[in-house]
């Protein structure tokens, strides 16, 4: 079966749009993906026919909404190979999922001075700052893996040791595109009794991810980067761990019983879903997972590998372009950051936008990664299942134009 990118594109209404008089060339999916009509329709039908609050009503609308919400949970559990749907906690985004673990697991493990938390230099701010704050609260020490010149995690034998309590690293870098082989890190962490969280915000949308195979204890990902709506994220955690952890956000629906004097808490996942959850958004994410599953994540990944190989070749041929991250498609995804000699990324992005080519410029919420490569900002083109080689060509033409304006 070949991947029919034209058929896929027909499902995305926005791709017919023009930007500044040119056909839209959307190369910013690592920032947020576009949404197929199948996802938008499911949400619309939910809101127009079945809207009710979940878990709280015996009435028909409430029951329908609850079933749809829980079905979405089951779909997502299946998508990442969770042992049970109860291991899936809905949050508002990846960032909340990571903060949840930093607070709740940090409290559960009673982190204290002398304990260590390990991250890396290629993390998104959302997988840095929550751990910095945890260390501030508890007196624990933050340590990190460095990054090699070709954009891989730098091995560091002694980094994970008997003082390490939590390791949290990115599965696929949103800047360098690197897909980290985490087997060694997970094994080493478990050997010393540490727990492992993986930031899968960029991997779950683009490759087959199976939590059993990964072996980690927690993963986080986010709906809007995987064809789903904004406002929904996911924490997967091993049930036995979730069951031991104290709540984080508190309020309606996460309780067992409440008196003015004290409260007991519901079992996971409810314990971690305080208040009215993003109901329509969870249902939309369920539809996104259906869409991806129907295409097959292997096929999606293969398509992106092909596009990435093409793009690496094309960009390497543009004089004055410096690539950051792995130079070949092996162990990397379809996210390419680069610099254009003598031109600031802001200016690169602006000129590309004038040609309808939408790339992200800036620090990509990963300032330490940029600092590692000695630049304050980069230009990033990122691909998805709807990306075509024509769009890569449009990017290359755009870069010629950039060099003309700033030549």
């Amino acid at each position: 079966m070949t991947f029919d990118v034209a058929r896929v594109r027909a499902d995305f209404p926005i791709l017919t749009r023009e930007v500044n008089g040119h056909p839209l060339v959307y190369l910013d999916s690592a920032n947020t993906s576009q949404k197929p009509v199948q996802v938008l329709d499911v949400m619309r039908v939910h809101n127009e026919r079945h809207n009710g609050n979940v878990s709280r009503s015996v009435h028909t609308l409430g029951t329908e909404a609850t079933s749809a919400y829980e079905d979405a949970r089951a779909k997502i559990a299946g998508f990442v190979g969770a042992a049970t749907p109860d291991e899936i906690v809905f949050t508002k985004n990846s960032t909340e999922a990571i903060n949840l673990v930093a607070h709740s697991l940090g409290q559960h493990l009673a982190l204290k001075p002398g304990d260590e938390v390990v991250i890396s230099e290629m993390e998104h701010h959302s997988n840095i700052v929550p751990w910095q704050l945890l260390c501030e609260r508890t007196g624990a020490t933050l340590r990190w893996f460095g990054v090699t010149d070709d954009g891989r995690l730098a091995p560091d034998e002694s980094l994970i040791n008997e003082r390490t309590k939590i390791v949290s690293v990115v599965h696929m870098s949103n800047v360098l595109g690197t897909i980290n082989d985490v087997t060694g890190i997970v094994a080493r962490a478990h050997e010393v009794g540490a727990l492992v969280m993986l930031d899968c915000s960029q991997s779950v949308p683009h490759l087959p991810v199976d939590v059993q195979a990964l072996g980690a204890d927690f993963i986080a990902f986010t709906g809007h980067k995987m064809l789903g709506p904004t406002g929904i994220g996911v924490l997967w955690g091993r049930y036995s761990l979730l069951a031991e952890m104290p709540p984080f956000l508190a309020g309606g629906s996460m309780i067992e019983t409440v008196t003015m004097g004290g409260t007991t808490y519901a079992a996971p996942p409810a314990r971690f879903e305080a208040g009215t959850p993003p109901i329509a958004e969870a249902i939309g994410l369920g539809a996104a997972v259906d869409y991806l599953t129907a295409l097959g994540m292997e096929a999606v990944h293969q398509h992106e590998q092909d596009i990435t190989a093409y793009a690496l070749k094309v960009l390497t041929d543009v004089p004055g372009v410096r690539l950051f991250g792995p130079a070949t498609p092996e162990g990397r995804g379809g996210t390419l950051s680069f610099g254009v000699d003598g031109v600031h990324p802001h200016d690169v992005g602006q000129i590309l936008d004038a040609l309808g080519v939408e790339v992200r410029v800036g620090h990509h919420c990963a300032k330490p990664t940029c600092a590692r490569f000695g630049v304050p900002a980069m230009t990033r083109a990122s691909f998805y299942l709807y990306t075509t080689t024509d769009e890569i060509d449009a990017l290359a033409r755009g870069l010629d134009q950039v060099k003309k304006v700033f030549g």
């Binding site: 878990s55 709280r56 009503s57 015996v58 409430g62 029951t63 609850t66 079933s67 309780i255 067992e256 019983t257 519901a266 409810a270």
Partner: protein
């Protein structure tokens, strides 16, 4: 459509519950809460030589949960652990069957009236509340009526 839910048998048990009220002596007790609706039940079991010589209960709840407790009392009183486990399993299977499971009157007695409840997902928890509390109370009395145990014994 409500006829499936509010069977005459259920309303009878609700209005005239069997075995209701907490009694002494007892060898195990458990208190369960349905967090979504606030319903509560306390179940006590008294056991001797592996048999439930008394089952008593009290609580606040809807017709379904109250009738379910009354039926439980009828079905499990003076039964052995293995028998109780079998009946418990059959009732749970019925409730979780989304209306697809055909109940066996020989095993479930009046409990077959709950077949209709299985079609109302929001009410399944109500019907199961006393049964879950019973299982815990039995466990505290040192008697395992979980399905794995019953499989071994059966």
């Amino acid at each position: 459509m409500l006829d499936g839910l509010y069977q005459e048998i259920i309303l009878d048990h609700y209005k005239h519950p069997h075995g209701r009220g907490l009694r002494d002596p007892f060898t195990g007790e458990a208190h369960h809460v349905n967090p979504t609706c606030g319903d509560e039940i306390t179940v006590r079991v008294n056991s001797s030589s592996g048999e439930f010589t008394d089952i008593s209960y009290d609580g606040l709840g809807c017709s379904i949960s109250q009738a379910s407790a009354s039926v439980l009392y009828e079905l499990l009183l003076n039964r052995s652990a293995a028998d109780a486990a079998g009946i418990q399993d059959a009732f749970v299977a019925l409730m979780q069957g989304r209306g697809q499971v055909e109940p066996d009157e020989d095993v479930l007695g009046d409990g077959i009236a709950f077949a209709g409840v299985a079609k109302f997902p929001a009410r399944v928890k109500c019907a199961l509340l006393p049964w879950m509390a019973f299982k815990d109370a039995a466990a505290r009395a040192g008697i395992d009526v979980s399905s794995e145990a019953s499989e071994v014994k059966a």
